[in-house]
Structures are given as C-alpha cells and as structure tokens.
C-alpha cells in the first residue's frame, strides 16, 4: 500500500504481539516523524538485545551472561527455589522484595490440549538442580489457573520422594477489591487458605 521500505516497516511491526495492521501503521508513522537520533537508539537497542541476551544456564531466566544476575548473587538463599512458568514471572515476584531465594523457569505449563507435556518443560533441569541436596524448599509459583495447578500437582508428585518442603503461594482475594464481586472459585480458595488472626 505504501512505498517499499515504509510498507516493510509496517509489515514487520504488524508481526509483534498485540499489534494489528492499524497499530503497526500508527507506530511506523510515529517513527517517521520522530527525531532520527531516537530512532537510531531504538534500532541499536533491538540489535544489542538479539546479540547479547540469552537464557541463564542454571535457571532459564533472561541474562546477559552465561548466568543471570540472581544466580550470580551470593547473597541469595540457595536453599529455596521458586519455580515459575516464564521469566516475566520472576520480575513480578522480585517486585515484592520479600523473596530472597533463587528461581527456576519452566518455560510454560503442562497443556496436553496444546500438545505440551512435562518433557517439553525444563523439569529435567530442575531435578538436576535438586540432586545435590542443597535445596530444602521448592515453591511452585506456576499461574493460579488450571494448567498452572496441574503443572504444580505434577511437580509436587515428582518432588515428593526427595523429601523436600514443597509449597505453593496462597490464592485468594485481591487487595482493594470488594468481597461481593469475588467469584466463588477465588472466594473458596481464600476460605480454604484462611489464617489465624493472632492479635
């Protein structure tokens, strides 16, 4: 529809997740109207990311070196591993500034309907990490949806013979919400996991 290179830019932008043809066109024309220095900086970052970023050989998190920042940090507690589905889940947990252990990224969740079984995830790598006996607790922080629950169940069964403490983050009501709007599944989980108020 547009002159060669502009159309190529729109086509490439349109391949990004969540960007449709109209959005791609809008971003392309924004880039054309933006200062050339800013565009060059964006382009160089994109190139640098593809060249420098890789996955941590220990936990599977995104890293700029062979091991990620968390795995290299000696102050992190090596006896606790938090298992997550994706590297972006690590960023979410790091925001709470409570967890001082290390992570393990599975690379997804078990979803037989999509053809993803336990062997398609980084479960073998997890078992290798646990084999030296240094880890005492594994937190299964997969998503609180059906696939995440099933993945946690599968892993818990796999870890049981190792005699580790296997835990799962609590599920329940979102802070700031009204009880009357909570769905029965979430509310049921909140009641299951209720705690004693020791005042």
């Amino acid at each position: 529809m547009y002159e060669g290179i502009v159309q190529s830019l729109i086509d490439e932008l349109g391949r990004l997740p969540g960007v449709g043809p109209k959005g791609a066109q809008r971003i392309a024309f924004h880039l054309l109207a933006t200062d050339a220095t800013d565009v060059r900086r964006l382009a160089s970052v994109l190139v640098e990311v593809t060249e420098r970023v890789r996955f941590c050989r220990i936990c599977g998190n995104v890293a700029e070196e062979e091991e990620c920042r968390i795995c290299r940090d000696p102050r992190r507690d090596a006896s606790v591993i938090c298992v997550v589905e994706e590297p972006k889940d690590i960023a979410a947990i790091e925001k709470i500034r409570e967890f001082r252990g290390r992570y393990h990224v599975l690379g997804g969740a078990i979803s037989p309907i999509d053809g993803i079984g336990p062997d398609d995830l980084r479960t073998r790598e997890l078992m290798v990490r646990l084999s030296d006996g240094a880890v005492t607790e594994v937190i299964l922080a997969t998503n609180p949806n059906l696939e995440g629950e099933a993945t946690a169940t599968y892993l818990a069964r796999l870890l049981k013979p190792l005699g580790l403490r296997v835990t799962r983050p609590a599920s329940g009501l979102p802070v700031g919400g009204d009880l009357e709007y909570a769905d029965e599944v979430t509310l049921g989980r909140a009641f299951e996991g209720r705690r004693l108020l020791d005042v």
Binding site: G18, I113, G176
Partner: protein
C-alpha cells in the same frame, strides 16, 4: 423540531446459554478467546475481555472444565461474554489429580473435534461431556475407563460406534462366538468375522472386547473388575479407532497418564 437522534439498539443481539469451557487462548493484553460447548448453540468461540487480570470478575469462571451460565452478545467474528456464573467447576478436583486431569483434557479436545461447525446445536455431545466430567470428578471409576467410555459413546453419538455385536463388514451376528474370530479392524469399523478379516487387523483378547461392550453400554460393574492388561489394550484400540474416524489426531491422548 426533531428530537435528539436515538440510536437503534435492535442490532445488538444478546443471548444466554450454558456450556462447558473446552479451551482458552490468550488474546491481546488481558483478554482470552474461550471455546465453549453450549447446550443450545453448539460450539461457540467468544472473547472474555480483561479476564486475565487478577481483578477480573469472571476470569476464574472461564477456566477449562467449568460449566458456566453465560450472557453473550453476537460480535462480527467472535461473540463477547458479558456475564458468567458458575454452574459447576469440574476443574478443581481434576487439577490436583494428574491422571484425571490428562484424561479430562483428552475429553475436552475430543468434544471440540466432534463439533467442527460453530453454533450448530449438538445437545447430545454436550450432555455426554457433562456426564463424563462428572464421572471423572467423582473418583469412583478409573480415569482411563471413564475416558474410554466417553470416547466410545461420543463415537456412537456421532454415528461411528464400533461394531461389537456383529461383523462390521458382512453383519454376521456375534463373530467372536459364532466364528471364533477376535479380529478388530479399525478401518472396517470394528469386529469382523474370520472370512472378512482384513490384513493388519488387531486380535484383542475376548475380555478386551467384553470391556469395550461394557463401556459402550455403561455396565460399570463389569468394567470396574476388568484386568489392567485388558484396560490397556482397550485404550489403545479406542484411541486408534477415534483418531481414524475423526481423521484427526487428538494431541492430549499422547499425554494421558494411567494410574
């Protein structure tokens, strides 16, 4: 003087139906495309807006295995879910039991495959799936038996029931007892007599054939006391039979874990 223009609302088509959530796919930032097998409208694909956000009012209700009562409006390509109430959540007990979860997933995928046309009412498939999920959640029978019973009956509902009481080719009644044949030919459509046996047909044990009959008829007393080796043989034959007649593989079957 003409009053303010009032927009015609007749084109907005709202409808209510209940159904089982078969599958969900991520859409955009926080939405999901939800595939539902409904009671009155057959298989429906609809968008659940914002359901991936933790504060979503009905995100948890639109998880696979949930029987939901829905209010939807007809969109241009996909319908949009405006309200959802849980009728029964079958997913909870299944997610904590891995063999049951994998069997249940195979049931959902099969239900989706057997309803290729969207919005074509197919109430028998819907009722069969509800019954199957209920049986799976009640933990009375082995999940492998529940799955095989579901697959055999869904085939029967779709008109592809395997011939177990007569030769699938010539119609000779009871080929096992009358001709001593134990030939089960998937492409032929079930048991065959000796003279109709095609090359490459399986030769299951007589007890395996009896188990298939029990599962198709719902004779759980007999099915529950069957031996594990006959259950394994039955599962293999049923899986091959379903996939042959569907002309499509069911990916979940590869991941079904047996107790």
């Amino acid at each position: 003087m003409a009053g303010p223009a009032v927009r015609d609302n007749d084109t907005v088509s709202l409808y209510r139906d209940d159904g089982i959530v078969l599958r969900t796919q991520k859409l955009g930032e926080a939405d999901r495309i939800v595939t539902i097998l409904t009671r009155r409208n057959g298989r429906v694909r609809a968008v659940g807006k914002g359901v991936r956000r933790t504060k979503s009012r009905f995100g948890a209700r639109l998880e696979p295995f949930t029987h939901v009562d829905l209010l939807l409006y007809t969109g241009r390509s996909l319908d949009v879910i405006t309200q959802a109430e849980t009728v029964r959540a079958y997913g909870g007990p299944l997610a904590v039991d891995y063999p049951r979860y994998t069997s249940g997933t195979a049931m959902l995928e099969t239900a989706e495959r057997f309803t290729p046309v969207e919005k074509e009412p197919i109430i028998r498939q819907f009722l069969l799936l509800v019954g199957g999920l209920r049986a799976l959640g009640e933990r009375v029978h082995d999940p492998r038996l529940v799955l095989d019973a579901y697959l055999l009956r869904t085939l029967a509902v779709a008109g592809y029931a395997p011939a177990l009481d007569e030769c699938a080719v010539c119609g000779t009644p009871d080929p096992v007892n009358t001709t001593g044949s134990r030939s089960f030919a998937v492409p032929a459509g079930g048991l065959t007599c000796r003279s109709c046996r095609p090359p490459g047909a399986a030769s299951p044990a007589v007890a395996t054939i009896a188990l298939m009959r029990s599962l198709l008829r719902g004779d759980w007393a007999q099915a529950d006391i069957s031996q594990a080796r006959h259950q394994v043989e039955c599962s293999g034959l049923v899986a091959a039979y379903v996939q042959w007649h569907l002309e499509h593989s069911i990916r979940s079957l590869r991941h079904v874990e047996h107790v």
